[in-house]
């Protein structure tokens, strides 16, 4: 970063106003600069869909999108997301109707306890857009950043295939 791009004033370590665009709406939150995007969403914005499983980027339960790309929110500082478009599981259903991937997870029983599920779904939808759902092996590889301790993995692959192939009328509008 060149000097001219540095902010005028030092921010923090105390709380500062941070402007975040989450699921299409603009929010101003007052947080310390050290707060992760995950804690910001969960504890400061009451958006608890992104889950905390390890807080060190190993489990994927906190997967959200920044500018449509999947990231682990626990390793992302909220303040670094100003000017970005953040999408969470709460932004997936449109007009109260579930996203095709959400429907497929339901009908294929692609979860048990449900705790990793928001992260799995955020990854699964992104995976289709990335073009990484060509085969079961490819799906397995590109979904391996999201641990499901209940081990619903085969059903997760089936749900993703369903959406990819339009089985049961659940084809993604984007796909």
């Amino acid at each position: 970063m060149v000097a001219s791009q540095l902010p005028d004033a030092v921010q923090g370590p105390g709380p500062v106003d941070v402007v975040l665009n989450v699921n299409g709406a603009t929010h101003v939150v007052r947080i310390e600069p050290r707060v992760s995007l995950l804690d910001c969403l969960r504890d400061h914005m009451n958006l608890t869909g992104a889950k905390k499983g390890c807080n060190q980027g190993a489990c994927g339960a906190c997967t959200v999108w920044i500018d449509k790309r999947r990231v682990v929110a626990c390793l992302t500082l909220a303040i670094a997301c100003e000017g970005r478009e953040i999408t969470t599981i709460e932004g997936m259903a449109e007009n109260g109707s579930l996203h095709p991937m959400q429907k497929a997870f339901l009908s294929e029983d692609a979860f048990q306890c449900g705790y990793c599920t928001p992260g799995q779904i955020m990854s699964a939808v992104a995976l289709l857009d990335e073009g990484h759902a060509g085969s079961d092996a490819e799906i397995g590889e590109w979904m391996s950043g999201n641990i499901c301790r209940c081990a619903a993995y085969p059903n997760i692959r089936t749900a993703i295939r369903d959406v990819r192939d339009g089985v049961g009328g659940v084809r993604s509008a984007a796909g």
Partner: protein
């Protein structure tokens, strides 16, 4: 009449889970919520010489720093008692922060409460503890010389030595013996949701939002620990993000959350970190087993000697019952099982999915495969020759046993008869291919106290069934909705389930694969009691078309009561209630479980088949297929039951190939993270074939439900290890089977 039971209904809590709307126990938004963070011991043994909280107390946002010098003392620590008993169920008989003594690394030494989580985490790092360390034992290897034979284990319910016949004499006379030592690494449950409690006091009443397998277990344990009347505590468990046993017993954090909330006069959330999950909620202990099988030349077992050695804590004699199912699987007149323990600087081990069955049956089923090899017998044929027609320890008949059908169907699916019995003969490029099989079994254990549910119907014909159980991801809430709909005779869409709240009718914790059986019993009794009550009301009501008829001749379907032989004669529940100006009607159902001394062997059985590919140059093992066929009694929901069995089988694969917590030389777990404690990811998990063989069981509970939560894991590790032998010709006696050992 059954229309809903068995159907592959989507989960009733599924919408909340796929939308992220479901609130888990660390996600309850409350005004004034403060955050607690634990400070844990860095040494495994010794004492706190000095605890310096000066900087922590003055850090921004800090409300309190609690430790052994200032934590208000409460009540007493209840005895170790499995939460299936429905009473207080402390995970260990030790409560921290009462004195300066350190028994194990990771022991909770202090708790910082602050306005925000970041402030609490920061201040926790400012607490400075000076230790006086003493010598410690944390592994089997270090403690071997101090081992002792346990008098009793498993909270006192299982004797340390179990015998039938004379194993020593029979082994002397045996025509063939197979003897080996086995090792299983310690395991940690690692549900993706870390344990968490949110505590709220209103005067002298306490509400806990707790991630638990048993809201009532939390209630009774916290009541004793804090000396608060049980009637003043409510435990709410809306969603649980997995458990696998680490939320089966009640550890210290719910009580600590309550103490913190009382200290700061605010609601407090205490969520464990992932690292803390490795030393706060128990584990499956590291263990050695030595198994000797004696047999005649036809392969009939004449003797089994099975000894186990494992570390436990300084306060409790705990070992997972690894000998149990292994002692019940085959007909064999002579048996000797012994649990040896080592007092070590660890916390008390605890239930971990298939507690004992997974490790013990890995040993037994690996040995059976070796015996088959020795005798040049097909492994499946060897098992059939030793089929236990009655329960081997007691001679009692089985309440139900579909194992022969499981073997037959599993063998068919796996095309077992086409397998070349010689090892190392099938290749696919660099991969050596192998097929292995194993038996599976998991005991059916009744809860210790009456199980209750309440059914209520409203004048519009809609109904709700209420029971306190928590659904940890098993699908129990969905299955209970089906049971209630059938029992009352109303359509599924008019039946709602309410659960996960200790204010609702009592159930024990959802543990030991017993949840579906015991709660379905209560729900079924409540729903059918309400049905019978309404039929009786109709028969007695002179304005009812059913007036004066024989209530036994009335059946209910779609919310309408009608005569069986004249379906035109009848009326709906709604018509009956509305005519009587009744807004609702309700009934309580109580199931009194059979005692432990029921004269039957009770077990869910199964057969496991695995195909593996091993690259011996790289030490890689890929499981290509898992096939499991089980006899769980009645299946309440085919979709969720099969998911449970599939998950169990993949847990077995993980037990075989991935999972192991390693004790470091400093007496601390060396790989306490999800980056270093390996669990399967999507690419590790093969497709899994699950089938169930429905057996009728009139002994275990009213609907004949034997349970599916754990049996899926039993035998999988052995089936994989046996398949690896078939692929490579090498036996593996240590879990996990690592790359180094495969090269």
């Amino acid at each position: 009449m059954t229309t809903a039971i068995g159907r592959p209904l989507d989960r009733v809590d599924g919408h909340a889970k796929v939308t992220g709307a479901g609130r888990y126990s660390a996600e309850i938004a409350l005004p004034g919520l403060a955050h607690a963070v634990l400070v844990t011991s860095r040494i495994p043994s010794g004492r706190v010489e000095l605890i310096d909280t000066y900087d922590a107390e003055r850090a921004e946002g800090v409300l309190a720093v609690l430790h052994h010098l200032n934590l208000p003392k409460g009540g007493s620590v209840p005895p170790l008692l499995p939460s299936l008993f429905g009473a207080a169920a402390s995970g260990q008989t030790f409560f921290p922060m009462q004195d300066e003594v350190i028994h194990y690394a990771g022991q909770h030494l202090a708790m910082v409460v602050a306005e925000t989580l970041d402030q609490a985490e920061h201040a926790a790092r400012l607490v400075r503890i000076t230790y006086q360390e003493t010598a410690s034992i944390t592994t089997v290897e270090q403690g071997r010389e101090r081992a002792y034979e346990a008098e009793k284990i498993f909270a006192g319910f299982i004797p340390g030595r179990i015998t039938r016949g004379d194993a020593a004499a029979a082994l002397d006379r045996a025509q063939v013996t197979v003897e080996n030592s086995y090792y299983c690494a310690a395991n940690h449950h690692n549900p993706i949701e870390c344990s968490a409690t949110t505590a709220v006091w209103e005067g002298d009443r306490l509400t806990l939002y707790d991630a638990t397998q048993g809201p009532n277990a939390t209630l009774h344990t916290v009541a004793e620990l804090l000396n608060v009347m049980p009637s003043h505590i409510r435990v709410v468990t809306n969603y649980v993000g997995g458990s696998f046993g680490c939320k089966a017993m009640i550890w210290d954090h719910p009580a600590l959350a309550a103490l913190a909330a009382r200290a700061v006069h605010r609601p407090v959330r205490l969520a464990l970190s992932r690292e803390q999950m490795f030393s706060s909620v128990g584990h499956r202990e590291e263990q050695e087993q030595r198994l000797t099988l004696g047999a005649d030349r036809d392969g009939r077992l004449t003797a089994i000697r099975h000894h186990k050695l494992s570390p436990t804590s300084h306060f409790d004699d705990w070992a997972e019952p690894s000998l149990g199912v292994a002692s019940q699987m085959y007909a064999c007149p002579n048996y000797e099982g012994v649990y040896n323990l080592i007092k070590a600087n660890t916390m008390t081990p605890t239930f971990t999915r298939c507690p004992g069955e997974a490790s013990g049956m890995f040993v037994m089923e690996t040995a059976m495969d070796e015996l088959a090899e020795r005798l040049d017998l097909d492994p499946l044929e060897l098992r059939l020759r030793n089929y236990a027609e009655t329960e081997p320890m007691t001679g009692h008949p089985w309440s139900s046993k579909g194992l022969r059908d499981c073997y037959r169907r599993g063998a068919e699916l796996a095309r077992w008869s086409e397998r070349d019995p010689r090892p190392g003969t099938v290749r696919d490029g660099n991969w050596l291919l192998g097929w292995g099989m194993a038996s599976s079994g998991y005991p059916v254990t009744p809860p210790g106290n009456p199980q209750r549910a309440r059914a209520r119907i409203f004048a519009d014909g809609s109904a709700v069934v209420q029971s306190s159980f928590s659904d940890i991801g098993t699908g129990s809430a969905t299955a209970m909705t089906q049971v209630a709909a059938d029992g009352l005779g109303v359509p599924l869409e008019r039946m709602r389930i309410q659960y996960g709240d200790s204010d609702l009718p009592n159930t024990a914790a959802a543990v030991g694969s017993a949840g579906a059986g015991m709660v379905s019993a209560a729900v079924h009794i409540a729903a059918t009691a309400l049905r019978d009550q309404l039929i009786a009301q109709a028969v007695a009501d002179e304005h009812s078309p059913l007036h004066g008829t024989d209530p036994r001749q009335v059946a209910v379907s779609d919310g309408r009561m009608a005569l069986r032989d004249r379906p035109g004669t009848g009326e709906t529940y709604a018509e009956l209630l509305q005519r009587a100006f009744m807004a609702d009607a309700e009934a309580l159902g109580t199931w009194n479980p059979p005692g432990m001394d029921t004269p039957y062997g009770t077990m869910t059985f199964g057969a496991q088949f695995a195909q593996v590919a091993v690259d011996p140059d790289l030490g890689l093992c890929r499981v290509r297929q898992l096939i499991g066929v089980f006899d769980p009694g009645r299946v309440l929901n085919r979709k969720t039951a099969h998911s449970q069995l599939m998950g169990g089988m993949l847990w077995g694969m993980s037990h075989a190939l991935l999972e192991g917590t390693i004790m470091g030389p400093d007496g601390r777990w060396a790989n306490a993270s999800l980056g270093e404690y390996l669990v399967p990811v999507n690419a590790d998990a093969p497709d899994v074939v699950v089938e169930t063989i429905e057996t009728t069981d009139t002994v275990v509970n009213p609907l004949g439900v034997k349970g599916v939560g754990e049996v899926g894991m039993v035998g999988t590790a052995a089936a994989i290890a046996n398949a690896i032998w078939h692929a490579t010709g090498r036996r593996h006696h240590r879990l996990p089977i690592t790359i180094e050992s495969l090269m």
